[in-house]
């Protein structure tokens, strides 16, 4: 018996009122806990409300900032953008008095920052954290860390901050009467009319000089021996026995090099598609094409035809032609029918030298300061964090298969599905070759490479003379080996945006998705390789003006050495490879190079059999400035017709979970007829595209929906949309796989790999759409509605290609917006906007528009 009990037993009368006492004690504790939970929830609610108000205020301020490049921060609290921020914070519940009392402009280094605070109480000391109930402040530019957009255009960004003093309910009685909550939002208003640093608009520009014999080749420099038949084994790119034409199109290549129409230059002029300082060997079996679309549009550029100004070579250099089949075994002969002097005409497949070779020197500015040092990265299908030599550059926990920008010694991908975050990848070293025969690879795993990789040239001594494939190295190697790999990890889904949401990846097949990236290879490194074993690779540079560290250029590769950039991808037409093998942006090798260059295998299946609205594949969309260029593989595709602006990932606005990576690449191309042009957009996500919501908008016209024309007659005001009364009808609540036989006015069905490929036609005014003959095609992994609602859906690496073809509109510029959503039902969408110069055909676009987006 305890002391207490005995005591009570001795004095029973003490028990009287015992329950009351105990209850009183418990009550205090209960109230305390209840108060704690209620107050916490209430604080959370106020914080959320503050965030909401900050978002609204920042967006409103962004609208006032947009439209022009801001060269300085807003001057004071009476600026329209400041007023908008203040008013919308107030309209959404955080009311303050706007005055200039706390306006502060401070210059530190090259940055001038304006900050101010407004309070609901008079007489508060500026910057004070007490004495008020509500405070709203702005900062232009925002406080660090700045997003890439805000680094590029610091005065086009504004941060809105809200502080609020919350009266506590119950814990107030415990001596904590108030708690401060804070929220912040940053907006970016993209300026219009900005010009950026990008090279002269020639599609391919090559530096390697011509020499009469190999004996005249300068030491340490690769040259072409005119006495030898060009062969891969001789394309060794060293002095001894080298045989490297400055430009070489293999017999299988049938190169189609589409330049850019120069009519946007002032004064309008013709621009040659390719300029070569040295000998060119053109062996395409059905005729190479070097097409400047001047006057005819890109549709005039088709294989085997000569249109506009083709190429120009320097004096002393010789163009060699061998266009009949099997030309690879005989010595090419100079193109006899090509004009010897500028201004001549030609009748053969080679139509060139209409103009003189001109020297162009452009050097990209790449600022690598501030990049994290990441060591080495060897990916064998595991998480990125486990594959890094240091933990510095580990991705966020929810994105374990995402590679982060930084300074790397080297990067090797032997297996796995990975994304690269937008940013600069500065490569300083050379990746080692794997030396393990079992387990996982410890370097580049060449074991699966076959004869399909005969074209690899990635050492200073070439593939044969360097001892075959085992010697091949690079700064960044993306291939697929046969050694062990990590298991594929499916994406997990919790509450949308919640902590249990995790992006999947890894596994065996190599699938790379890299929007908005810049790879710089330092002089101590080598180049870039993507082998034909790679299942799918899509890389695009940042949009024009989007990255200050590269001068706003759409730069994809900057190789500061004599290495090779070798671009290839799977030729197997598996469903997952379609649509993604694209390299978009400027590919640059230092103008002081003495060897190396760019090798492209345009057989990479960027589109199945030309499906998707075009007639050729766009292996490379962009520009090459390099020492040499070799074109392997069947059919050719090098498209610079959209200019620098068409080669980049455009401005995107997203909602819900960050999903800007669902937009992989986009290009505006001319055709397929002389009066139309096409916007081709590629989509990639772990969910299939929700085609019900997709629309495209040309200039300020009404949006054109992919699914809008299905109803006849169109539903009236208040009618159910979409109707759920028949198969194949788009619906959010009735998700389904599109059928093999689409209803009118759709055409199409199922493509060769079993994916839906439908084309919407807009033929009737007022019912279906614009009635201008435009069409909207979506091919690939898409469904009606949210894939997440489709129990039979297989989620994974979903890709699709969207092509909107429309008549060339009137006006000096054309602005195109596209809206699309993924299938995860988390409210995720992308709105992307492009503006191109409009001359009837695509041109180097100054790709800007006054758009506003929340950055953070």
């Amino acid at each position: 018996m305890s002391w207490t009990h005995r005591n009570l037993m001795d004095h029973p009368e003490r028990r009287r009122g015992q329950a009351m006492v105990i209850f009183a004690l418990i009550f205090v504790v209960l109230v305390g806990f209840a108060g704690l939970s209620l107050d916490a929830t209430h604080l959370y609610l106020v914080q959320h409300t503050a965030q909401k108000a900050a978002d609204a205020a920042a967006l409103a301020a962004g609208k006032r900032l947009a439209g022009a490049t801001q060269q300085s921060p807003v001057p004071n609290s009476n600026d329209l953008a400041a007023v908008a921020a203040h008013d919308f914070a107030g309209a959404d519940g955080f009311i303050t008095t706007r005055n200039v009392a706390c306006d502060t402009t401070v210059t530190s280094g090259s940055v001038t920052r304006f900050t101010t605070w407004w309070y609901d109480t008079a007489g508060v000391a500026c910057g004070s954290s007490s004495g008020f109930n509500t405070a709203v402040g702005i900062a232009v530019p925002p406080f660090a860390p700045l997003t890439p957009h805000c680094q590029t255009s610091p005065y086009n960004c504004m941060q809105v901050m809200i502080q609020s003093k919350v009266q506590n309910f119950l814990i107030g009685t415990l001596g904590i009467p108030t708690t401060n909550v804070a929220a912040s939002a940053t907006v970016y208003a993209q300026p219009t009319g900005t010009t950026y640093d990008y090279p002269f608009p020639v599609a391919i520009y090559l530096y390697e000089p011509a020499v009469a014999t190999i004996a005249l080749c300068p030491p340490g420099q690769q040259c072409f021996d005119r006495t030898k038949v060009p062969a891969r084994s001789l394309l060794s790119c060293s002095t001894a026995g080298s045989n490297c034409p400055t430009y070489w199109a293999r017999p299988e290549a049938s190169s189609l090099i589409v330049g850019v129409d120069g009519t946007t230059l002032n004064p309008p002029q013709d621009v040659v598609a390719l300029e070569s300082n040295g000998d060119m060997v053109m062996q395409g079996s059905i005729g190479d094409e070097y097409c400047d679309p001047y006057g005819v549009g890109v549709t005039g550029c088709t294989l085997g035809r000569a249109i506009g100004k083709g190429y120009a070579i320097a004096p002393g250099a010789i163009p060699y032609c061998a266009t009949s089949g099997g030309a690879g075994t005989r010595l090419p002969t100079p193109c006899s029918a090509a004009p010897a002097s500028p201004g001549g005409t030609a009748t053969t497949p080679v139509y060139a030298n209409e103009t003189t070779f001109a020297s162009h020197i452009w050097t990209p500015r790449v600022d690598t300061s501030g990049l994290l040092t990441c060591g080495t990265l060897l990916l064998n299908g595991g998480t990125v964090a486990s594959s890094l030599s240091t933990s510095t550059c580990a991705p966020p926990a929810a994105e374990p298969y995402t590679v982060m920008p930084g300074k790397y010694d080297w990067i090797v991908v032997n297996h796995g599905s990975y994304s690269f975050e937008p940013g600069i990848y500065d490569i300083t070293g050379i990746a080692p070759v794997n030396s393990n025969s079992s387990g996982t690879a410890n370097g580049i795993d060449h074991s699966r490479e076959t004869s399909a990789d005969w074209d690899l040239c990635t050492t200073a001594t070439g593939p044969t003379s360097c001892g075959g494939p085992t010697g091949l190295r690079a700064g960044v190697w993306i291939g697929r080996g046969s050694l062990n790999y990590g298991a594929y990890v499916a994406t997990t889904y919790g509450a949308c945006g919640g902590p249990s949401t995790m992006a999947g990846g890894g596994g065996d097949p190599t699938i790379i998705n890299a929007p908005g990236v810049v790879f710089r290879f330092e002089s101590s490194s080598m180049g870039f390789v993507s082998t034909s074993e790679v299942q799918s690779v899509g890389m695009s540079s940042p949009g024009l003006g989007q990255m200050r560290q590269v001068g706003g250029a759409p730069l994809l590769f900057d190789m500061e050495n004599n290495g090779f950039i070798h671009l290839d991808g799977s030729t197997a037409r598996s469903s997952d490879s379609r649509g993604l093998n694209t390299f978009s942006g400027i590919i640059y090798q230092t103008s002081t190079a003495t060897a190396g260059g760019v090798e492209v295998n345009p057989g990479v299946p960027t589109r199945e059999d030309g499906e998707g609205g075009g007639t050729y594949n766009n292996a490379v969309v962009g520009q090459v400035y390099a020492y040499s260029f070799t074109n392997f593989g069947s059919m050719g595709a090098f498209d610079y017709s959209s200019g620098a602006g068409g080669a980049a990932t455009p401005t995107v606005t997203t909602s819900g979970n960050q999903e800007n990576s669902i937009l992989v690449s986009s290009v505006l191309q001319a055709g397929p007829t002389g009066t139309t042009e096409s916007l081709v957009v590629k989509y990639s996500d772990e969910w299939a595209l929700d085609a019900y919501d997709v629309y495209v908008k040309i200039n300020a016209n009404s949006p054109v929906y992919f699914s809008d024309g299905i109803w006849s007659p169109r539903p009236g005001s208040g009618a159910t949309l979409p109707p759920n009364n028949a198969g194949n009808i788009p619906s959010d609540t009735n998700p389904r796989i599109p059928a093999a036989s689409p209803p009118s006015p759709y055409t199409g069905g199922i493509d060769s790999v079993g994916d839906p490929n439908w084309t919407m036609h807009y033929p009737v005014a007022g019912i279906y759409g614009p009635a201008d003959g435009s069409t909207f095609q979506i091919e690939g992994d898409w469904i009606w509605g949210h894939e997440r609602d489709l129990t039979t859906a297989v989620r994974g690496n979903d890709v699709a290609t969207l092509t909107y073809t429309f008549p060339v509109p009137a006006g000096q510029t054309v602005t195109i917006s596209m809206f699309m959503t993924d299938g995860d039902r988390c409210g995720d969408y992308v709105t992307s906007t492009w503006t191109f110069n409009n001359i009837g055909t695509p041109a180097p676009g100054v790709q800007v528009v006054g758009s506003v987006r929340l950055e953070a």
């Binding site: 029973p12 028990r15 009287r16 015992q18 329950a19 009351m20 209850f23 109230v31 209840a34 939970s37 209620l38 929830t41 209430h42 959370y44 609610l45 959320h48 409300t49 909401k52 978002d55 609204a56 967006l59 409103a60 962004g62 609208k63 908008a84 203040h86 008013d87 919308f88 107030g90 309209a91 959404d92 009311i95 706007r98 509450a495 949308c496 919640g498 606005t653 909602s655 819900g656 919501d693 300020a700 009404s702 949006p703 929906y705 009236g716 005001s717 208040g718 009618a719 159910t720 949309l721 979409p722 619906s731 959010d732 609540t733 039902r825 988390c826 409210g827 709105t831 506003v852 929340l854």
Partner: protein, 191 residues
């Protein structure tokens, strides 16, 4: 058992009988209040998502943005959203000819706003013609969105019909025993 002991036991019973309702009320009440806060938060999130969508254009699908946001709290079903559910009369605002949200502004008792017995939530959209610090100074009718280039604000209003579990609290809410938890967000049109 002595009479004294019996008296004590009876006394404890009475004390407990007195205290228990208070305790139960306290527990139920705090559970209700917590639930109300949580749903209010979800409504706030939904109106924020709707606003962010609404400012982008005149025909963007505000309804989908609103309904997709409070994922864990309110299912995107016909019974939960009534005529604002996917496919419903007032659900989607993807053209100028359609109603955008409830035309009565989710008024309590309105048949269009609260048609179904099980209906939990309602949203409505309107244009703010002029605004000031502290709120909107002049509204359009419900269901009207700003015309392109008008430089007006758009309000997304979301309401949750909250049924308290605690009897006493429900009595405070009048005849229906229902509270309406509201959230609205005002944003400047960007199009």
């Amino acid at each position: 058992m002595s009479p004294k002991q019996r008296r004590r036991r009876a006394q404890a019973l009475v004390e407990t009988a007195l205290i228990l309702p208070v305790l139960v009320l306290l527990m139920l009440g705090s559970a209700d209040l917590g639930r109300a806060f949580y749903l209010k938060l979800e409504m706030s999130g939904a109106s924020r998502a709707g606003m962010r969508m609404a400012v982008l254009g005149g025909v963007v699908d505000i309804g989908n943005a609103v309904r997709s946001e409070p994922n864990s709290a309110i299912p995107n079903t016909a019974s939960a959203w009534g005529s604002m559910a996917p496919g419903g009369t007032n659900a989607d605002c993807t053209s100028n000819t359609q109603h955008c949200g409830d035309p009565t502004g989710c008024r309590p008792g309105s048949a269009s706003a609260w048609g179904g017995v099980d209906q939990q939530a309602c949203f409505a959209v309107r244009t703010c013609l002029t605004w000031a610090n502290g709120g909107c100074a002049g509204y359009s009718a419900w269901g009207v969105r700003p015309n392109a280039g008008a430089d007006q604000a758009v309000e997304v209003f979301v309401v949750y019909r909250f049924l308290p579990a605690t009897p006493l609290i429900a009595n405070f809410a009048g005849g229906t025993g229902t509270f309406y938890l509201t959230a609205q967000t005002l944003g400047l049109q960007l199009y």
